[in-house]
Point group: C2
Chain length 375, copies 2
């Protein structure tokens, strides 16, 4: 068993009987067995992962579990968004049951957001719920999807439409695994880190402006950025576990972002989720300025920072042709449910002063988009 590093940070998510810890630090996969064994009664685990992640981290994780007396079985799925569908779900449930996982045993998600969402759903429905551990291996999953308990798969009617709220029993965010991410993947995850500053932590945004190179380099600054993000997400989740109100703030940049992802047919070679969110956050700030809610200088500052780290910041930065503003507007309307011509948007009154606006006129959005469209 490796000793806990001085760099290790803990974020506690106080959700009553569903409370759990997020551990952030180096070397956590090597310590996973001990951390898990101290938190669950069972001594069996099914590891759900994808082929790419398995190549790097499956054997070290299995070894760590074995050292702690936990027998493990691996369910290795194809990487990519298509894994969030019924067929892999059925396969995973079948393998987990075949491995005789009982209620006190664990399903472990070892991977990015796709694996975490799928494995969390599996853990929530096998035997009506078994223990669930998240080991997120992308920055995006560490700061966003692994915290909060949203799990699920996609439907032909839309993304994430089938699933359960299932809080993990433990999240292990191993900072070392981010070393194998491509720079583009790391930047995409960083967009969600910036988002927490823009929601309600202007000091954190300023800290990122000054320290982003250190965050990208790794070490203590990176761990601070991840821990601050996890704490921010945990605070929102605790206030609104099942997304009936304040949790909507986490969608800052996501309404425009989802429309751009749909407009590029979820083609990751053109635009990945974090990049769409980066552009979406700039648009949300520009739109807030246009509505005279915030100064245009705030939008410029957000744009400057995201551009500095290498993220796209405007529709013109997306390679290839985009559909026209009317088509983007249709995607937004489908995503959001238009009520009597009004939409719900996350807007801002200034740096780190985001709020939920539920009466945005669809016509205003369309006219704004037309002005911003590069075509």
């Amino acid at each position: 068993m490796t000793a806990a590093s001085d760099l290790q940070t803990r974020v506690h998510v106080p959700l009553g009987e569903r409370a759990y810890d997020i551990l952030i630090g180096p070397g956590l996969i090597a310590r996973a067995g001990a951390e898990i064994a101290s938190r669950i009664k069972g001594r069996k685990a099914a590891i759900i992962t994808d082929r790419s992640v398995a190549a790097h981290y499956l054997e070290p994780l299995k070894a760590s579990l074995a050292d702690a007396g936990i027998a493990s079985h691996a369910v290795i799925l194809p990487p990519g968004e298509k894994t969030k569908s019924f067929e892999p779900l059925i396969e995973a449930c079948d393998e987990v049951l075949g491995a005789r996982i009982e209620r006190n045993d664990a399903v472990i998600a070892l991977g990015g957001g796709v694996i975490g969402d799928l494995a969390g759903f599996v853990a929530g429905i096998v035997r009506r719920g078994v223990r669930f551990i998240q080991i997120p291996t992308s920055l995006l999953a560490q700061v966003d999807s692994s915290v909060g308990g949203k799990t699920g798969i996609n439907s032909r009617h839309g993304k994430n439409l089938i699933g359960v709220f299932n809080q993990p029993d433990l999240v292990l965010a191993d900072a070392d695994v981010l070393a194998t991410l491509s720079p583009r993947e790391f930047r995409a995850g960083y967009a969600e880190v910036v988002k927490y500053g823009l929601i309600d932590k202007p000091d954190f945004f300023e800290w990122l402006e000054k320290n982003w190179q250190a965050v990208f380099a790794g070490g203590v600054a990176r761990i601070h950025a991840i821990a601050t993000s996890c704490q921010a997400k945990a605070d929102v989740v605790v206030a609104d576990e099942r997304e009936t109100g304040a949790r909507a703030l986490l969608n800052l940049g996501h309404t425009f972002g989802h429309a751009l992802e749909a407009a590029t047919a979820y083609d990751g070679s053109r635009l990945v989720h974090g990049e769409a969110v980066a552009i979406g956050m700039v648009l949300a700030h520009e739109f807030s300025a246009r509505l005279n809610l915030a100064s245009p200088d705030v939008a410029k500052r957000v744009e400057a920072h995201l551009r500095a780290v290498g993220l796209p910041v405007s529709m013109a930065d997306i390679p290839g042709e985009l559909p026209g503003p009317e088509r983007l507007m249709e995607a937004i309307a489908q995503d959001k449910k238009v009520k009597s011509g009004k939409l719900t948007f996350i807007l801002t009154r200034g740096l780190g002063q985001s709020f939920v606006a539920d009466d945005v006129a669809a016509s205003e959005v369309q006219s704004f988009l037309t002005g911003k469209h590069p075509g």
Copy 2:
């Protein structure tokens, strides 16, 4: 809107934020729209049902919903246990999403246990949970499966292995619909009614001994029997919502019963669930007597009552050949997880004095079964 009948009874299930009512009485399908509209915010519903039930009750239910301003879409599945599998689940989720059911809208289960289990699972996972209403149309579903929140489907690894705990928002047990049940189906449901007396309500068992003809005839005695059963189940569920302890008492008669269902390959022409439970309850009482826990007279009294209503009470009552006692024992061991040669059983110390015994020697069970086996 029809006025509530004087015969109507309400059982409240006090599960905190998941609390709900069970209404028992005549004419409840005709009043369903009003009862549902007063409990949910949405004005859309998806009715999940099977072809047999739909023929009788779908149109009256749709009319009642329409009168209350609730638009409904019906998802009609084949009747039978095979509907509790992934393919119908996927189809139902797709249709419910296609009907644009949102979180405040409802999925309504209109049918017996199979439909209730499937629809409850669908309601629990579409959009990570929408409102859920149970309208059980068999006696078994009214007194057992519609109360308590267990939902799910079967796996090739066993029954009910994939699902969620999802408490309904309302249960409407319409006593009138039992008129279309076959006598055999009614008797099978009655076995579960008797079970509540045998768990911890000896007075209720005595009442059933005296009044069973009136219960079978309908009217106020039947409503009393259903309401007492629902109250008994609700009490156990409130004490142990997620089945970590006392809820196991509800399995009285079920360990032997499940083994007999497996031994007859779930062939409903030979043995249906309630019949298996009836035989299982007699065996559990005889086994308790053999272990010197209870007087053999108690087992005889239980057997006499179940026989009087026309239920099978011994393995010899099952048509066709049964596998030998070793095979039955294997089925029990698979169902129950043998820990160092010990099994968990629901046994009794007397009439209505059941308890969870977690140290029953597998060898004792096998020797008992060998003595009882008709072969």
